[in-house]
Symmetry: C2
Subunit: 331 residues, 2 copies
């Protein structure tokens, strides 16, 4: 069974291969009647344009590389979905690369993608800025959840949402809250810490910044244990996963949430709804983040030398069951 190509279709229609090609890529250049005939014959024969051939002829692969530091982090799947959907809207396929938490390996993985994809979306990359900048020399790149000089990026600004949740805490009587920072090297962690600090200053709340914990469930457990010694009545965790660890630790120590202690997460991953109590957190606009990233990447592909854009999307506060009024001190 010989493969069906533009030539088979052309022959079947009595036109030249170029006309068939045009019928698919520049339909406006082909007379209506002819185009119809071609499309019909193509469908009939089961013709599928060969992507590789097209790629080699045009220099475009119609693929975008999506590099994630850790696909098992619940933040990623919704993001992957969003990116993929947005990419699909432009007939781009997504080549997924999971760095398996090896930040040092990211650069290497990225360089492997060269020539295979038209551009890269780097979701919360952990590699060194310099390596990322180098990677971007070769290939259009868009960052998500990180900002690096000279590169386009889309980030989520949780400042207002965290402040709103903080204000509610204050109304609930909390006067002293803890901040559980994420890894010091994480851009998002720095960002969130900064906005929480700013809020605390404004709200005249005492903020206890605990040492950075790992952005993981176990990191959260550690943090949860440490929390108890602080005299705080509420905590902002770096993200939902860490917050879950805090919840688990508090539960194991018989501390009631939100009765005795309030916990705030961030990102609103699926998990946030699944734990008991469900987490008060900040919903990341996954869909829009993905769309924006793809949009920026298209710009960057179209105009590699253009000035890098930055898109900032606000997170949305959601109050659930992990926060509440400070318990009346019953001695």
């Amino acid at each position: 069974m010989p493969r069906v190509t533009i030539y088979s279709v052309a022959q079947a229609c009595g036109v030249s291969s170029s006309t068939v090609s045009r019928a698919f890529t520049r339909p406006d250049l082909v007379k209506d009647s002819v185009r119809q005939r071609i499309l019909a014959a193509a469908a009939e024969l089961g013709y599928r344009p060969n992507k590789s051939a097209r790629a080699i002829a045009t220099g475009r692969t119609a693929m975008v590389g999506l590099v994630v530091p850790d696909i098992t982090n619940p933040f990623m799947p919704p993001l992957v979905r969003a990116v993929q959907r947005a990419a699909g809207d432009h007939d781009w396929s997504v080549l997924l690369v999971d760095a398996e938490e090896q930040s040092a390996a990211e650069a290497e993985l990225i360089s492997r993608l060269h020539g295979q994809v038209d551009g890269l979306i780097l979701a919360s990359p952990r590699a060194r800025s310099i390596d990322l900048q180098n990677a971007a020399e070769d290939l259009p790149c868009v960052l998500m959840n990180r900002v690096i000089r000279g590169l386009p990026s889309v980030v989520c600004d949780n400042g207002a949402a965290l402040a709103a949740i903080g204000d509610q805490l204050v109304r609930d009587g909390h006067r002293r809250v803890a901040l559980l920072g994420g890894p010091a090297s994480s851009w998002a962690a720095q960002q969130r810490a900064r906005t929480v600090r700013a809020w605390a200053a404004r709200a005249e709340v005492v903020l206890d910044e605990l040492k950075p914990y790992d952005a993981s469930f176990d990191g959260g457990r550690e943090a949860g244990a440490a929390l108890l010694a602080t005299g705080t009545t509420a905590a902002f965790a770096f993200d939902d996963v860490m917050a879950c660890g805090v919840l688990a630790e508090l539960a194991s120590r018989g501390v009631a949430v939100p009765g005795d202690y309030s916990v705030v997460g961030c990102d609103d991953v699926l998990l946030a709804r699944m734990v008991t109590p469900s987490l008060t957190t900040v919903t990341a606009p996954f869909g829009e983040l993905g769309r924006a990233a793809v949009e920026l990447l298209r710009e960057s592909v179209a105009e590699p030398e253009g000035r890098p854009s930055r898109v900032t999307l606000p997170g949305v506060p959601v109050t659930r069951a992990s926060t509440g009024p400070v318990a009346a001190r019953t001695p």
Copy 2:
């Protein structure tokens, strides 16, 4: 800056382009000294083989399509990672396609991949068997967690593990347990139901099969509510996600787990450790599942007409905090 191709490298070395090509693809056919020279020049010039060109010349894209029904299901990320790692070991890239829970769309998505990938791994596909069989006509396919006549597949057998957990339940005094089946159309759900039934018969335990619930957190909540009316003291949930829903519902109704009721999940996704109490469940051997799938796919690509193999890997029981002895009836 002209792109660097085998020709640039050839010229730089004073050899022909084919020799350069060989130096990369069939190094054994090139004299050592020459190969060294070529590799050095290539590195110097920053040569990267163009995948599309190679694909069009060889008919192989070195890509595998990984189709998942729902990337946000926590079962998938570890599987994606495993497949990707195994694929990478053979220098295959992974094109990820998330069907976004639209089982009807799967077939369409699959057919889009035709020509773009050398083969397909379909993880827990929900499309109709006939559509999947048709897809496989065009393209080597391997199924995961589903068995369809004529297609190679790798599945996880949780029978022994579930039985072991069940036996422990019996030792803990449980005499009547519930089975929360997943969606009736799910192969895995049928499979699990079957093995639990078999165990119950053997163990002489009364099994209450509740109507199929959605394999989701909310499905689990519903199930949890229904459970209370059954007179059972323990339940096998279809998977961990559903089990989490059950936990949440029981918690909200003041039912202590495992004090008043025991809950068993399945798969051991990250989530299983994060909930309180942590879930007794069956660990799926993700790494091996991924490796096996890639291995079968390679066979299938090499020998499209070969008899389809089947690999079955056993799940491993893990006892955590969601199961325990039946509470003494205190009237």
